[in-house]
């Protein structure tokens, strides 16, 4: 195993990211958005990389978190910790339901089902505009306050999100290192065998969905407080697609790969959009390049780079001989 894949290395890299972003970025909004998407993408990776489930439904959970924050903060002024907890619980519940119905089918049909749910939830949000604000979304979502002062400056809110991000990332590292996480890997590798040795595999997949949904909705709530709106676009199919693309770019073999994926995508989009109005075209080309030449995503590149620099002098590991 590459030393960078060890849990403490992953955690250290996450901490480093939080500290380094303010040094290189002028925009606190962009930096905060990167951290929010980083945790959401890592949650998607728990399903894709660790469980082998390609879920097109992540936008549902993200949108639900957004609406929980939007509704609770603009209508009832619920305390922010409660809002975040509520978003996570509702996200987990929705993900459990979507997962429960979707994992009855395998492969392409599973993906189709999550896609269908993603459309369904979008139309529900669009239709019940009395609750969700429909096309306009919910405006005027306030920032949280700490010690009586609202975190209205971008970098003060960044600090708040950074603390959340590190906590969530640590939690996800713990999950993937646990006996649960290792069972997920087994299910991804060979579900039939996992069932034959006694694991109720559906239950494990459901739990992965629940955790992923909780984190994604948590991120959605943070996002609404960041931009001050709970927009309809957060529950659109496009958001699901975005999260998946970031997950794949980052590479699905490590959680920190997801942080790279989110950062890379958002920074690139930000840079390109100032260069050329048709920047999405350029972004598409970059994505095709990544898909063609970086099979293991950006994280694969990092691992290869590490090996080149630190392991060149070591002879390749010779497999132990038998007999």
């Amino acid at each position: 195993m590459n030393p960078l894949d060890k849990p403490y290395a992953q955690l250290a890299l996450a901490l480093l990211t939080v500290l380094v972003l303010p040094l290189f970025l002028k925009s606190g909004i962009l930096a905060t958005e990167i951290l929010i998407f980083a945790m959401v993408v890592a949650a998607c990776n728990l399903l894709l990389g660790y469980t082998g489930l390609l879920s097109f439904g992540q936008g549902i959970f993200f949108g639900i978190g957004t609406y929980v924050a939007g509704i609770c903060l603009t209508r009832w002024s619920v305390p922010v910790p409660l809002v975040l907890a509520g978003a996570a619980v509702l996200g987990a519940a929705t993900a459990t339901l979507v997962g429960w119905l979707s994992i009855r089918r395998q492969g392409v049909y599973f993906v189709m089902l999550t896609l269908a749910f993603s459309q369904l939830f979008y139309f529900v949000a669009y239709t019940f505009s009395g609750v969700t604000g429909g096309d306009n979304g919910l405006l005027g979502v306030p920032r949280p306050s700490v010690g009586g002062t609202a975190l209205n400056s971008p970098w003060s809110y960044y600090t708040f999100v950074a603390v959340c991000f590190v906590a969530v990332f640590a939690l996800l590292v713990m999950v993937t290192q646990s006996t649960f996480g290792r069972t997920l890997l087994a299910i991804r590798e060979n579900e039939g065998r996992a069932a034959a040795i006694g694991f109720p595999t559906k239950l494990f997949k459901l739990e992965a969905f629940a955790i992923s949904g909780a984190v994604t909705a948590f991120g959605g709530a943070l996002h609404a407080m960041l931009i001050g709106v709970a927009p309809l676009s957060n529950i659109e199919y496009h958001t699901s697609e975005l999260i998946l693309i970031m997950t794949i770019i980052g590479g699905s073999s490590s959680l920190f790969g997801s942080v790279l994926g989110a950062g890379f995508y958002l920074l690139l989009a930000d840079a390109l959009s100032t260069v050329w109005p048709r920047w999405l075209l350029l972004l598409g080309l970059v994505l095709v390049t990544v898909a063609l030449f970086l099979q293991r995503g950006l994280w694969g590149l990092v691992e290869r780079g590490y090996d080149l620099v630190f392991r060149r002098e070591r002879a390749p590991e010779t497999p132990a001989e038998e007999h």
């Binding site: 996992a194 069932a195 034959a196 006694g198």
Partner: protein
Amino acid sequence: MTDIALQTRGLGVKYGNFHALAEVDLQIRRNSVHSIIGPNGAGKTTLFHALTGRVRASSGRIELDGRDITDTSDDDRVRLGIARSFQVTSLFPNLALRENLRLAAQGRTPWQALAPWRRAEANAEALAIADEVIERLALAPVSNRLAGELSHGQQRRLEVGMAMAARPRVILLDEPTSGMGIDDIEAMKQLIRDLGRDHTVLFIEHNMGIVMNISDMVTVMRLGRKLVEGPPAQVRDDPEVQRAYLGNMITGDIA
């Protein structure tokens, strides 16, 4: 407790309209070595699928220690004491050999593994079982290698180890020696005989040398049905069995 560990009555399995298994009555005595033989397509593997719950029985019933398990799910049956190996090797190829066995040992208590905060190493018993199986199968030199990188013979041994790690009372082995070299076959024969001392062993085998040597009882299947059953010597000399096999496999060559 009765003397019978595993019993089926009128067991049948249908794939669509095709009766892969029909009216199979089996009685497997506790701590005996019971082998199932028969030509390819006889329904032997299907019988194992039905016994372990991988496919549903379309008729008949299955009893483990007198308890009806016909409608019990495959993972629940592991906890009741049935474990199996597969004819076509089925491992976790990108996980280490030891991790494969640790998972198999953990499978007996899967609810523990649902706790996302519990470390895998906290289950010392599962680790101990994994190491014990590694020792018994002489796989220690390669225990940290990925299962997918092992030689064919090692993979076949690990395949059997996956069943052993569940600490079952009844162990089902589907052609454990298929594709093995001579030395490995002899070791596997010793192992199966050994397992028979404290397990109920049900195994499918084409190598008549092994079958006739170590079985307490032999069941011959053909076209999804039981053809003949009895002690090895009696089965060997049965004219119907001779006819079914045209004599060629009874002599002990390796299929």
